[in-house]
């Protein structure tokens, strides 16, 4: 009886209902879309950052992150890798060796002989070309020359003698593809090691700070150079989506327990980046809260109008002997019916909009530079938060804001109200 009455009331005054519905749907849509957009743009920045370089999860020897020493190695990285392959949700993994070296190139002027006077200190990263390619699409960032080559199953430790330089580093050294380069470093056994390499490619990762002091050789070359046969310093793990990272980190950590290894998510090993993201996200949350608040005010306004307009009607109901509780329940129910309708309508609208922007994205012009990494495209994402947060907001607002006018209506003095009209 109550539901029937409320339902009929909703459709009795079509213009008024449509106005209320529009406000509520608009509020839902705005909140839902901004949440999806925020979530999507942050996810895409994080995925871009981590996919490009670090991976979402990393495995190291215990303590390596605090004190990255050449001696803190993962001694059986192949076994660890095989275990990672067995975990669903792991898209790929890449072993790496990190150390430092002195790089030197012969100047171009004639008569330089064997004097390599263009020199610079650099970080040397040993990568498995095939696995790195599968995990981070390394070759996409090669700007001249070509990628390092070696097979994924290369355990014969044959040196390729090829090196890829960061773009800015190649400028500092005045070197280009095809030039010879001498590397002088200290191996893990304490000996001084020097080797000659041929520059096969120049890479631009989008982060000039990194490209200024980083060069890449194959994992086998690095294992020979640094006397680290069969070892790696880091395994970068790529996951299929950002949402599963925390769970996967725990899974991997549990699977590798007892090996003196530590497993961390990007939130730990890229802490600065994470904190920056989090600070930005928090400030955007304030914006979203304001959007939701504005939408709620709209709902309050229309419902208040609706109740005030119908004072005579409530007066008649009271005169006919309707109890105040019944009127309150009826008004709140009406507001909720409209709330549910607008949640459904707003849901359809925002899904359509979010879907479009998750497929097409918004090209950033000029590109956004975040901590040295350049982002060119923002996309939206569709998550449960896009629905349940605005839905709860709309329903709760509808219930609470309708309650006060309902209370007022319920206590209308029948005689007084009717006399006025």
């Amino acid at each position: 009886m109550l539901l029937k009455l409320a339902w009929r009331n909703v459709f009795r005054q079509k213009r008024r209902t449509i106005l209320t519905l529009l406000t509520m749907t608009g509020g839902f849509f705005l909140s839902s879309f901004s949440i999806g957009w925020m979530d999507g743009s942050y996810s895409s920045i994080i995925m871009f950052f981590t996919n490009n370089r670090t991976g979402q999860i990393q495995v190291h020897r215990e303590g390596y992150l605090e004190d990255p020493s050449i001696y803190s190695t993962i001694s059986d990285y192949q076994t660890v890798g095989a275990f990672l392959d067995s975990i669903p949700g792991v898209r790929g993994w890449a072993p790496r060796i990190y150390s430092g070296a002195l790089l030197a190139v012969r100047p171009r002027r004639p008569g330089s002989g064997n004097v390599f006077s263009n020199s610079a200190a650099a970080s040397v990263i040993g990568i498995d070309p095939a696995m790195e390619e599968a995990a981070t699409n390394f070759s996409d960032r090669i700007v001249s020359g070509e990628m390092l080559t070696a097979s994924a199953a290369d355990t014969s430790y044959t040196a390729t003698g090829r090196i890829v330089l960061g773009k800015e580093l190649s400028i500092i050294l005045e070197a280009s593809v095809g030039d010879s380069l001498v590397m002088l470093t200290q191996a893990a056994d304490g000996s001084s090691a020097d080797r000659m390499y041929v520059i096969c490619g120049i890479v631009s990762t989008g982060n000039a700070d990194i490209d200024r002091n980083t060069c890449y050789i194959t994992l086998s070359d690095a294992q020979i150079l640094f006397a680290l046969e069969g070892k790696a310093h880091e395994i970068a793990v790529m996951t299929a989506s950002l949402g599963t990272v925390d769970e996967l980190t725990l899974d991997i950590s549990a699977g590798l327990s007892g090996r003196d290894l530590e497993t961390d998510s990007w939130k730990t090993f890229a802490r600065e980046f994470y904190n920056g993201m989090k600070a930005d996200e928090d400030s955007l949350k304030v914006t979203i809260f304001i959007i939701v608040l504005v939408a709620a005010m709209g709902v309050l306004n229309t419902i208040l109008m609706m109740v005030l307009e119908r004072r005579r009607e409530f007066g008649v109901m009271k005169a006919l002997g309707t109890r105040p509780g019944f009127i309150i329940r009826m008004i709140v129910l009406e507001a909720n019916i409209m709330g549910i309708i607008s949640v459904i309508a707003g849901g359809i609208l925002s899904t359509a909009a979010l879907f479009y922007f998750s497929e097409h994205g918004l090209v950033m012009d000029p590109p956004l530079d975040y901590g040295g990494t350049v982002f060119r495209e923002m996309i939206a994402s569709i998550t449960p938060e896009c629905y349940w947060i605005p839905a709860i907001c709309v329903i709760i607002t509808a219930s609470t804001v309708s309650f006060i006018p309902a209370l007022k209506a319920a206590h209308t003095k029948a005689a007084k109200t009717l006399r006025k009209v």
Binding site: V115, S117, S119, G190, S192, D194, R195
Partner: protein
């Protein structure tokens, strides 16, 4: 007034005793520290024993020096590094790498880096600094800086002048008065924390000069790590061919 004079006397007398009777003139002492291993030119054969928690190795080498601005060092063993050489002229430093038969210039950014994996930095080899010219110094009796032993030993605290580019902010030297031989040298940073300790021992006469034949460098922040240099032979002021300090000599394999 009387008591003031008495106080004055009491405060001056120990000063006169300590500076006039026990301590040698400080300028001379600091100059002797500067000249410890230096001469117009020198030739030395030495070994360098490097100990780290991960590995331990001994390198043998020959070293030539001329004045304070030219040094040439050739590694003799182990086989993997034999033939490697370092030449330094002024602030420039070059390494010869026989493996790739190349000569590499050490960039300024790596001058603070380790030389041959030891606790001695490239800067230590290149250093043209003298204590007399580039530091201010005074005797110290601060017991937080000195050993308990004060008999026959003086302690000198040196502070780099503002124009002296070094990473430490003070050095404390312990010197034996009897033969002006240093016992140890401690380097401190601006917080007063120890950076490294250099100890001198095995005083010997070589080619008419008295030098500690052993010098050990112990970095304070790296546990279980040290570098010990032992002189087995040294010649001073015998005259050196200036062609020793050249890029072409660097690349010859003698």
């Amino acid at each position: 007034m009387k008591s003031f004079l008495l106080l004055l006397c009491l405060s001056i007398i120990p000063g006169i005793i300590s500076s006039g009777l026990c301590q040698p003139p400080i300028d001379e002492l600091v100059h002797s520290l500067d000249q410890l291993y230096r001469s117009d030119d020198s030739y030395a054969e030495m070994s360098m024993h490097i100990v780290t928690p991960h590995w331990e190795r001994i390198l043998t080498m020959k070293a030539w020096s001329h004045g304070i601005d030219k040094t040439f060092i050739r590694i003799l063993s182990p086989a993997r590094e034999a033939g490697m050489a370092s030449l330094r002229i002024g602030a420039e430093m070059w390494n010869y790498l026989p493996n790739t038969s190349s000569t590499v210039r050490i960039p300024p950014s790596m001058m603070a880096g380790s030389w041959m994996g030891s606790d001695i930095t490239n800067n230590d080899i290149v250093r043209e600094i003298t204590y007399v010219n580039d530091y201010t110094y005074s005797y110290t009796t601060d017991t937080t800086l000195t050993d308990a032993q004060t008999d026959g030993v003086v302690y000198i605290e040196l502070f780099p002048k503002s124009s002296t580019a070094v990473v430490w902010s003070s050095i404390v030297f312990a010197v034996r008065i009897e033969d002006t031989m240093p016992l140890w040298e401690k380097y401190y940073d601006s917080h007063g924390d120890l950076i490294k300790t250099v100890t001198y021992s095995d005083v010997q006469e070589m080619d008419g000069r008295t030098i500690p034949a052993q010098m050990q460098v112990i970095p304070a922040d790296k546990e279980g790590q040290s570098t010990t240099i032992t002189w087995s032979h040294a010649e001073f002021n015998r005259g050196l061919d200036s062609s020793i300090f050249s890029l072409s000599n660097l690349q010859s394999s003698d």
